[in-house]
Amino acid sequence: MKQANKMKLSLVAGLLLSGISGFAAAADKDAGGISDGAVKIGVLTDMSGLYADLGGRGSVEAAKMAVEDFGGKVLGKPIEVLSADHQNKADIGANIAREWYDRQGVDMITDAMNSAVALATAKLTAEKKRILIANGAGSTKLTNEECTPYTVHYAYDTYAMAKGTAGTVAKQGGKSWYFLTADYAFGQSLQADAAKAVKAAGGEVLGEVKHPLNAADFSSFILQAQASKAKVVGLADAGGDIVNAIKAANEFGLTKDQTLAGLLVMITDVNSLGLPTAQGLLLTEGWYWDLNDETRKFGKRFFEKMKKMPTMVQAGVYSATTTYLKAIQAAGTDNADAVMAEMKKTKINDMFAKNGHVRQDGRMVHDMYLMQVKKPAESKYPWDYYNVKATIPGDEAYQPMSESRCAFAKKS
């Protein structure tokens, strides 16, 4: 009995100690900035949840690769990469970001997977006058209602994904559309953006059906989409919903005479669905590893480390980190205002973007690609998933400045 009690006590002590050591480690102060001896980059991402494959460890690795390729130093000072798992909770994400800024002297945060986390971090970043380069989050609010002079939205946004897919498909002959939409603000805005693009390209929208978030059974929705006889069925949802919708569409034979177009599908979704199920699906990507020699070279290097091909988010983190470091070099300081001004005036040319540029509102404008998922027989090697159907010029893909709802960018 006594021994059992002792064991319990030592467990308590262990738990308490682990808490204390956490505090102690976080308490050692060291302010950042080149003036303080280092440039620190924080990769704030989801490592354990739903977006872990899209960003996660791969994003951390990508940032490290960028630092390594840059030589590990900028203006003679070392570059450090920090990372944290925000567990898809905005309060944890914002708390980590706050502590990084206040106590660790982090100069720039990137990835920022999950829109709620990214928006919370964006506010904080502006308050602390540092820089946020969002890659993982898709919300257009980052460069509209909630825009700040310290945010760059890098790899993609939901507007470009929806408009890229819908507008280009409609131009290429997919004129009649039917939408399968997640029944909340995100799905509705995705559908609205896509429907606008379809109409602008001379197409028509035959109807829509809304499904609840995280629906388990898609059969009735798929049957309605089938009955609509629309040429293209647009999927205005994401994550688990889109995967389930595509599976159901496949089982009901919808894909025989209609084409599925995903408004927000990632390569990780295609990977988890597998080519037999996903084949023929149209979607937009901001980057793909098998576009050209440069991207393939990066893809293979990344693959050696992570045993997975990089996603556009991870490639975006690499590119964003490089762009940021180059801007520091050119500006001669890590002062956020100076670096931001430098980033907004320099063209981005690397394996991720050709002639990309950061607009006044923080939107990084670069070409997007309309992809079609290959048939299993066409796929020659692992991760050989897409045929490039069209390149969408950045200025067409992204929301034009004239429609911007970003207050400070409108004034300047």
């Binding site: 738990l15 480690a25 909770k89 309060d91 928006l119 919370a120 904080l124 919300s139 603000a185 995100f186």
Partner: protein, 312 residues
């Protein structure tokens, strides 16, 4: 036991005042205090009344949204936002509690879960919450119109005062005749009924109190962090508060405070050290507590200190 009450409160106050001076990060401490108050409020139900509510996130999150909206859009001062948030949660608690207390045990838990899930979907749908993007950019503002809260340290002491007030209130409630009846209900409901007490009214009042205090915690957290998201109304949050209470020790006043700080610090300080392992470690800590420390951290310590005490 009773005469020790003010001492515990005093020790907490002193510890709280000293914590930021010892180099602990004030925003982290504020978040911890908000969750501690939330867990204490929850503990009033599970620990002292024997009611397992599985929908407490509804009160925590609703108050956050209400306070956030009125502070951000209507320009209310933070204390009014918190009061209104808490009042809304108490009202909601009266509605949900009123329905749920008609059933017992697992059915009670399921009713609270179902109603809070309904609220989650309402929050997902209505435009004011910003759905999955969350309600962002809520200003901290000025307390009573003249105390500037933008300094972390000032805000910290305000939050500490709110927490101590909430904790003090709970301490008072638990040790009052009303609290005795609640404990009696936990031990033997039919006996209490036979003694002539109106069990339902006692349960409902406890529920409303708990919901209101959870609301204070949620609204305060929104003011501290400057945003409110769906996480706070999701069922995972309802689960987390159960976890905090169990790890700390349910049915002890101090337990939920310790539990909340253990869980929040695990989530925060492991996030940049072990990456994906955070969830696994939190899970294991929970399993460990259930297996080795049945009474939770505080409950076990209290039992060791005075082996004969029945109620810690």
């Amino acid at each position: 036991m009773k005469n020790r009450m003010p001492i515990v409160l005093l020790v907490l106050a002193v510890l709280g005042c000293l914590a930021p001076l010892a180099g602990l990060y004030p925003v982290f401490l504020m978040k911890g205090l908000c969750f501690a108050l939330f867990a204490c409020a929850f503990n009033l139900l599970i620990g002292y009344t024997g009611l397992l509510s599985f929908g407490h996130a509804a009160f925590f999150g609703t108050a956050g949204y209400v306070a956030g909206h009125f502070v951000k859009v209507w320009g209310w001062s933070p204390e009014l936002g918190i009061i209104l948030g808490a009042a809304t949660s108490a009202g909601l608690g009266w509605l949900i509690g009123g329905l749920a207390i008609r059933r017992q045990g697992i059915y009670f838990a399921m009713i609270t879960l179902a109603l809070s899930q309904m609220l989650y979907f309402v929050c997902l749908q209505v435009p004011v919450t910003g759905a999955e993007d969350g309600m962002q950019g809520i200003p901290r503002g000025h307390l009573f119109g003249f105390i500037d809260l933008s300094s972390d340290l000032t805000l910290y002491y305000v939050v500490l005062a709110i927490f101590l007030a909430g904790y003090g209130l709970l301490q008072r409630v638990v040790n009052s005749p009303f609290g005795q009846v609640l404990k009696a209900i936990r031990e033997n409901e039919s006996r209490v009924l036979s003694l002539g007490y109106d069990v339902d009214r006692h349960k409902l009042l406890a529920f409303v109190l708990s919901a209101g205090l959870a609301g204070v915690a949620g609204a305060t957290k929104t003011i501290v962090l400057g945003f409110e998201t769906l996480t706070d109304v999701s069922w995972e949050m309802s689960g987390e508060v159960v976890l905090m209470t169990l790890v700390g020790g349910m049915g002890t006043l101090l337990g939920p405070v310790v539990g909340a700080f253990v869980i929040v610090s695990l989530q925060n300080y492991l996030a940049d050290k072990v990456g994906a392992w955070v969830q696994v470690i939190i899970g294991s800590a929970f399993v460990l507590c259930v297996l080795a420390l049945r009474k939770g951290i505080v409950g076990t310590i209290a039992a060791r200190l005075q082996p004969k005490a029945i109620n810690a």
